[in-house]
């Protein structure tokens, strides 16, 4: 499964959104309805799934689906 699909799967599972809503530009808060604790749990979900630790400063910048994918690619995941 591609990185994009794995990320999307986590988001769909955690937020209960429809697959078509999970576009690269989708904002977690305004487009996907995630409150701050949902977003924290998403970060935790990415950490668990991809076996890395995302520090708080980085985490607050990951506001869209695309930014998460880019961040994970930068960390050498694919």
């Amino acid at each position: 499964m591609s990185l994009e699909n794995r990320v999307a799967e986590i988001i769909i599972d955690k937020l209960g959104v429809k697959p078509e809503q999970v576009t690269a530009e989708a904002q977690f808060d305004t487009d996907l309805g995630a409150d701050s604790i949902d977003q924290y749990e998403l970060i935790m979900g990415f950490e668990d799934a991809f076996g890395l630790r995302i520090d708080e400063d980085e985490a607050t910048k990951l506001t869209t689906v695309g930014k998460v994918v880019d961040y994970l690619k930068e960390k050498g995941l694919d």
């Binding site: 604790i37 924290y40 749990e41 935790m44």
Partner: protein
Amino acid sequence: MNRLAVVTGAARGIGFSISQKLIDSGWSVAGCDVLEDDLKKKSEQLGDNFSAWVLDITDENAVNETAGRIEKELGPVFGLVNNAGITRDGLIMRMRKTDWDTVLNVNLTGAFLMCRAFSRGMLRQKAGSIVNISSVVAILGAAGQANYASTKAGLIGLTRALCREFAARNIRVNAITPGFIETEMTSELSDEVREDYAGRVPMKRMGLPGNVADAVHFLLDDVSAYITGVVLPVDGGLTT
């Protein structure tokens, strides 16, 4: 397998009584305290379901490291009891800033650090119960305890804020406000002062650490599954 609770200030007084009550009720307890000798002695009394963790809860790194070790060695933490507290009494005119800072660091910042360290695990398991031991002085005030009363009122604010952060994740956060409880701290008072205290309580007697421990057990247990954000007085009617 027994459910695991972390109790701070477990070596003495109310914290020891809480640990004992939880163990008697089938829990495992990771007891934290900065008083190493006391903790070791009490550990022998409490048996195999009690593990002793020497910890200064004002030390951010030590708290995070100890939390990680407890979860790794003992498994998921379901309960957290922020009980550790100290006093440095004095009228405000004579209260040194170090007395203020020290009491704030232990009683309030320590509780914050513990909540932060264990909340990640509780979020992951979508289950947990945190009990913060406040005091009636948070409500009534007490001359000579500007620092202590402020921290105990602060714990009520912490409780209510965390209640709202975690309620939808099945993590409950409550506070208890003990009144006059007989402990090592109050045993140093003269009989006259103790009688005066007891006389002010509607029930006309001081409480026992076990009374607080019973309330903590209630709030950790599933029998209180729909109770969160509550400040529960255990004070013989003192604040009514």
